[in-house]
Amino acid sequence: MASDLEHRPDRFASDRRGFLAGLGGGLIGLGGLGRGAWGLARADEASDGADRRMIVRTERPLNLESPSAALDSFLTPNDAFFVRSHHGAPAVGLRPWEVVVEGLVDRPLKLSLAELGAMEPTTVPAVLQCAGNGRGLFRPRMPGLVWERGAVGHAEWSGVRLAALLEKAGVKPEAAHLHFIGGDVPPTTKAPPFIRSIPLARAQADDVLIALKMNGEPLPVLHGGPARLVVPGWGGNAWIKWVRRIVVSAEEAQTFYMQTGYRIPREPVPPGQTPDPKSLVPVEWMNVKSLITSPDLGATAPLGPIEVRGVAWTGEGHVVKVEVSTVEDPTWREAELLDEPRQGSWRRFKIAWTPPAAGSYTLQARATDSKSQVQPEVPPWNKSGYLWNGYDRVPCVVSRA
């Protein structure tokens, strides 16, 4: 059967046959369309035994989640960073990339990458998290990619301050929103293009960039290269990839991904309920959240002190406290915080935990930020599954020493 699956190396081929073979054979593989066994662990796996391979949500378009073990550092390496694409990456390289600034401006701009690169560079460490990270943990479930814990990462983004571009173009007084037109092409003219807007006030802040680099490397195409928007503290929905055109406007973008997608109730609604669309607001600032990066999910450790490590971040402000306990003994203990408190950036934490006896445990962590937001055990349900920030929980097994 001819399909897009046939380019894959053999070790990827077998597990998808459930679906395709089922079509030919008629009766086999019903319901068994999963892809459980993607080959064996590779020899280059780290010595702690943690599996650092990316979690493949979909290949076309490409959506990859980082396993928490791959997030156990201050900066997330580019090739371990989660990938979210709505319509798939555009054909970067067919013609020189340009970024246009137009609309309510005195001097419309059309800048080549070389011209952008020649402007004063700024570098900002910031957490990029998909608004839907954790969607798979909400009940009842909702449609959308079933991200669990790892649609998040932390990188050093370098590029041009958006404010500098806006100064160059001269923003007219009636301007209030910036529309960003991404380079990804919807599959048909009926499918919505990925266009969203951010308010001018946020766009003019010092930390908002058109990034050309990620962790010192040219921004990879999978992460929005050659040019993407960086809005520290805001959900990934605002970090438009493949920026081609910026239109300065008096209004919010009236597009699907602005008016229907990425909206959340201002006030919590009961689970399962769809509120009046007028009561929805765009997802902007992230909420406070922590993630345990070691031990790994389901890890086994010998009885004795165990180092529990992780990372924590928030939207506005910065993380001031992370506490760790177990579901079995929910007495919270404060972890040591590393790294500078800085808006948009994450802080690592660590704490020694000595289990009382061998057995099965579930570690849990919760963070608190400088605005006194505390990570809840379970966040309010919303119909699109945005901004999950329930306690992070990691089951593990303690064996007799």
Binding site: A2, R52, A89, R95
Partner: protein, 252 residues
């Protein structure tokens, strides 16, 4: 006068294109219908054989129900493969766990975005998705791979490979005649075929040539219709197509 001539020529090409497109679709539809009949016959025969093997003596009503369900599954899977893999892989739906009402509204959403699903397949597809990917279906562990091993074609390849020496004018004309009826005059996609302009596939010459040569699902194989050079000319033209300029032409 000159513009009139050009317009007339373009119109003629467009009409010819529509006809070729339609003929291709008809031929394809006929072949598909025949294949489907053969396929369903085979499935029915297999189901019957299985039922007979399992219960040689009694005509158990339960077995009949099972056969009926299996048969409906085959039809639904076929409809999903034909119609739902144009824009994304099957993981986009097999990864979800939704109620009947949620599946119904997902399908409405997809149809609104340019998917097609024959009316007769709608119910079977909704029921199939709800039965196999409903709220209570366990979620198998996801696939795992290092980035370098993921067979993605979204990382751009060589934007010049496979189109050296292309005759762009010829490519443009051929595109309008042979491809535009499904992929749209500006290659921005229609219900019959996905967008091509500025899509990553254009930077992977090998992928492009394979799909165009051999076809894929509802994309007809072009090898009997176009020479390798003509397929290359079209690639060269598509690569040079400016999406903004093309979009403007299309919207006029």
């Amino acid at each position: 006068m000159k513009t009139l001539l050009i317009l007339v020529t373009l119109a003629a090409i467009a009409v010819a294109g529509l006809m070729v497109g339609q003929r291709l679709q008809q031929r394809r539809a006929l072949a598909e219908a025949a294949a489907e009949r053969a396929h369903l016959e085979a499935a029915r025969a297999a189901a019957q054989a299985k039922a007979e093997a399992a219960a040689p003596a009694s005509e158990d009503a339960d077995d009949d129900d099972d056969d009926e369900a299996a048969y409906r599954d085959v039809m639904a899977k076929r409809a999903l493969t034909d119609n739902c893999l144009v824009c994304h892989e099957e993981g986009m739906f097999t990864g979800q766990r939704l109620t009947a009402a949620q599946w119904k509204s997902e399908i409405d959403k997809m149809l609104g975005w340019g998917a097609v699903l024959p009316e007769a397949d709608r119910r079977p597809v909704e029921e199939y998705l709800t039965r196999h990917f409903g709220e209570a279906t366990p979620v198998p562990p996801p696939g795992r791979a290092h980035l370098a091993d993921v067979p993605t074609h979204e990382i751009p390849g060589d934007p010049a490979e496979g189109s050296a020496g292309a005759d762009l004018a010829s490519g443009g004309k051929l595109y309008l005649v042979v491809c535009a009826s499904c992929h749209g005059p500006a290659a921005l996609g229609t219900e019959l075929g996905p967008a091509l302009v500025d899509r990553a596939v254009l930077t992977h010459g090998e992928d492009y040539h394979k799909v165009v040569r051999e076809g894929r699902r509802k994309m007809p194989a072009m090898n009997s219709l176009l020479t390798a050079d003509q397929q290359r000319d079209i690639l060269g033209w598509l690569r040079g197509l400016d999406r903004d300029a093309a979009g403007e032409v299309a919207s006029k």
